[in-house]
């Protein structure tokens, strides 16, 4: 990671010496890092611990139950045009979320170019992908609830499946929903030109950090909950 430091002399890390220097100074530890960005990172770190607690509890109940765990491949299969495809909805949701991360990364870049229109449009696209994701999740929840999945039981095996499913995906879905509101707000402000006076588009990057984090959490949920 540190080897590629040469591209950007402005915010570059200069090895361990810079680390010691940063941490031993007064007032600010992260030199030339926007305070909002540092704070967002620290918030995301705390959120990492929350999601890790959920995933670790899921691991604990799953590996301590004597009943068979429902086969997620079957549970999340959809029948499309007469073919039963395992996990297809979750795969599409994954692609939607990755695409939203892609448009967000581009939005951050256009923000720094101070291209307000493109930035706002790309952020809008990101929010739309987010809405699509949450809608698909609502569909998935409805399907499972109709099939009899409850936090205390389900027709296929270990009763803990339902509580893990609703807790983990619900909390993640809530993050996506909040992200959609957050991004829409920032997109409108960018479009109006609120940040033009200071010429500082770091806000877009900070919002982007939150959004990428939501995608990052999904990577872990997808691997541990859906695929495992």
């Amino acid at each position: 990671m540190t080897d590629h430091a040469a591209t950007d002399p402005g915010t570059q890390s200069q090895g361990l010496k810079s680390l010691v220097a940063d941490w031993s100074t007064d007032q600010e530890a992260f030199k030339r890092v926007h305070w909002g960005k540092a704070m967002m990172w620290i918030f995301l770190l705390s959120d990492t611990f929350i999601f890790s607690c959920f995933l670790t509890s899921y691991m604990t109940v799953r590996s301590s139950t004597t009943l068979p765990w429902p086969d997620t491949s079957e549970v999340f299969a959809l029948t499309i045009a007469g073919h039963k495809i395992p996990m297809i909805l979750i795969a599409i949701m994954t692609f939607v979320l990755i695409s939203s991360s892609g448009t967000m990364a581009l939005a951050v870049n256009y923000g720094y170019r101070r291209d307000r229109r493109t930035t706002a449009l790309l952020m809008g696209a990101t929010a739309l992908f987010g809405v699509t994701f949450v809608s698909m999740q609502a569909f998935e929840w409805t399907k499972l609830i109709l099939e009899g999945v409850r936090p205390w039981g389900n027709p296929w095996g270990a009763p803990q499946f339902g509580s893990c499913f609703f807790m983990i995906t619900g909390f993640h879905g809530m993050h996506v929903s909040i992200g959609v509101i957050y991004l829409t707000t920032i997109a409108i402000k960018v479009f109006r030109g609120d940040f033009e006076r200071k010429g500082n588009y770091e806000v877009v990057e900070i919002a982007g950090l939150y959004w990428h984090f939501v995608d990052l959490v999904w990577v872990f949920i997808f691997a541990f909950f859906y695929l495992w």
Partner: protein
């Protein structure tokens, strides 16, 4: 970048720009498209692991490898961690390692619970309690 040349007067009207803005996280667009494509490919691979029903060690090894590659790409490039200061990198990336302790403890605990259930409720169990 061209836009900075187009509006040279806009920047310093009210407040001086923060030192970060000028050479902030500005990278060529191409890298984002490459990462975007890579994430698609890796997700497809994880999906195929399920589709072709890999089992056992193979299954979770592949899932975890693809997972970490995806997570790494998102954090390093999309979240720009690769270009951040070392102090920030360490402050954010080291603490989550502590979670390994939690995972280890809970896996010991769940193993104990599992065997307790097997011994007291029988292997096929039924709802505990």
């Amino acid at each position: 970048m061209e836009h900075e040349a187009v509006h040279p007067g806009v920047q310093p009207v009210l407040a001086p720009p923060s030192p970060d803005t000028k050479h902030g996280q500005q990278h060529p667009l191409g890298i984002y498209f490459v990462i975007w494509a890579l994430l698609f490919v890796l997700s497809t691979f994880s999906f195929l692991v399920d589709y072709f029903r890999f089992e056992g060690f193979q299954r979770w090894a592949l899932i975890v490898i693809f997972m970490w590659l995806k997570a790494g790409l998102i954090v390093a490039i999309f979240m720009h961690m690769r270009w951040e200061r070392l102090a920030l990198k360490y402050a954010i990336l080291i603490p989550p390692l502590l979670l390994a302790v939690l995972v280890a403890l809970m896996s010991i605990e769940s193993n104990y619970t599992y065997w307790t259930r097997v011994i007291f409720f029988g292997v096929l169990g039924g709802p505990p309690g």
